[in-house]
């Protein structure tokens, strides 16, 4: 089947962002965690940036690549942790898209990132309480939400700054929009 060069370019950009997620997951894996569920969420960065210009289907592809990459790096691909990760990431992306599109000029990537972290935390704690660990798991709720607030804020602030200064991202956006 012939593939148009536009399609190829799109695929290339999507797979590049997916690879970036994989790379950032690996970087994050190097950073020691004070608590097992404390995650920086570095791998959310490509999604947060992609939100600005990617089409929904391509965004979804990056999400799948991100979850797969994280599963591979953390060795959780074949465990229930992978489902947690998938559910949390999906909820996060859905919320971020909604906030980004509805908020328009009233919201920056900081708010978008925070809303994503909140959604991911809420969904994961709910899953833990209802399906896996029972009512005892709600003890982790304040910790999960608290660390989510901190990391969501850091990633959001970084994204805002990155969008402002990165020529590379600007060029990527222009190239993608021209397809």
């Amino acid at each position: 089947m012939p593939v148009s060069s536009d399609h190829k370019d799109r695929l290339e950009i999507v797979s590049f962002l997916g690879a970036l997620c994989l790379f950032l997951s690996a970087v994050e894996y190097l950073i020691p965690k004070p608590l097992p569920f404390f995650r920086l969420g570095l791998a959310n960065l490509p999604l947060l940036l992609g939100l600005r210009f990617l089409r929904p289907t391509d965004l979804l592809l990056v999400l799948l690549l991100k979850v797969l990459g994280q599963g591979l790096v953390n060795g959780t691909l074949a465990s229930y942790v992978f489902l947690f990760s998938l559910a949390g990431s999906a909820a996060s992306l859905a919320t971020m898209s909604a906030v980004y599109r509805l908020g328009k000029t009233k919201v920056s990537l900081v708010g978008v990132s925070l809303s994503g972290a909140l959604a991911s935390s809420v969904v994961q704690v709910s899953l833990a309480v209802t399906f896996v660990f029972g009512p005892t798991a709600r003890l982790i709720a304040p910790l999960s939400l608290g660390s989510g607030l901190a990391t969501g804020l850091v990633i959001g602030l970084f994204a805002v700054r990155f969008v402002k200064v990165s020529r590379w991202l600007e060029a990527l956006e222009v190239r993608y929009r021209g397809l």
Partner: protein
């Protein structure tokens, strides 16, 4: 930072505060004294006062529950260490009378009835 950023930040804080209440509320559930004697297991709610006389190898041991605490009031054993251990009321506290093979400990039952057990992990 824009208007909605602050609102989302505040919403996040509200969730955190809410989760603190949610996670601490009703954590203990119903407390019970779990009493083991001569192979029998008795479960007595701490909220209900009462006394239980147990037969063991060296005689009788009396466990009393009053004001939400459990203690051994009488025992036919030699050293009376079990009586000296006093009252217990917190989960995982225990009293034992080794000569008479009586073991009392406090267990917390979650209100919904399902607890984390070895099978979950």
């Amino acid at each position: 930072m824009r208007l909605l950023d602050y609102l989302i930040f505040l919403l996040f804080l509200a969730f955190i505060v809410g989760s603190i209440f949610w996670s601490s509320g009703g954590k203990d559930g119903v407390l019970r004294a779990e009493i083991e004697a001569s192979g029998e297991l008795y479960l007595l709610p701490l909220a209900q006062d009462g006394e239980l006389a147990l037969e063991g190898p060296v005689g009788e041991t009396h466990v009393e529950i009053s004001d939400g605490t459990a203690r051994i009031t009488h025992s036919d054993c030699r050293d009376k260490i079990c009586i000296a251990m006093g009252s217990i009321q917190e989960p995982s506290q225990w009293i034992a009378c080794l000569p008479n093979r009586v073991f009392v400990r406090i267990v917390a039952e979650s209100p919904t009835g399902d607890e984390v057990d070895a099978g979950v992990f």
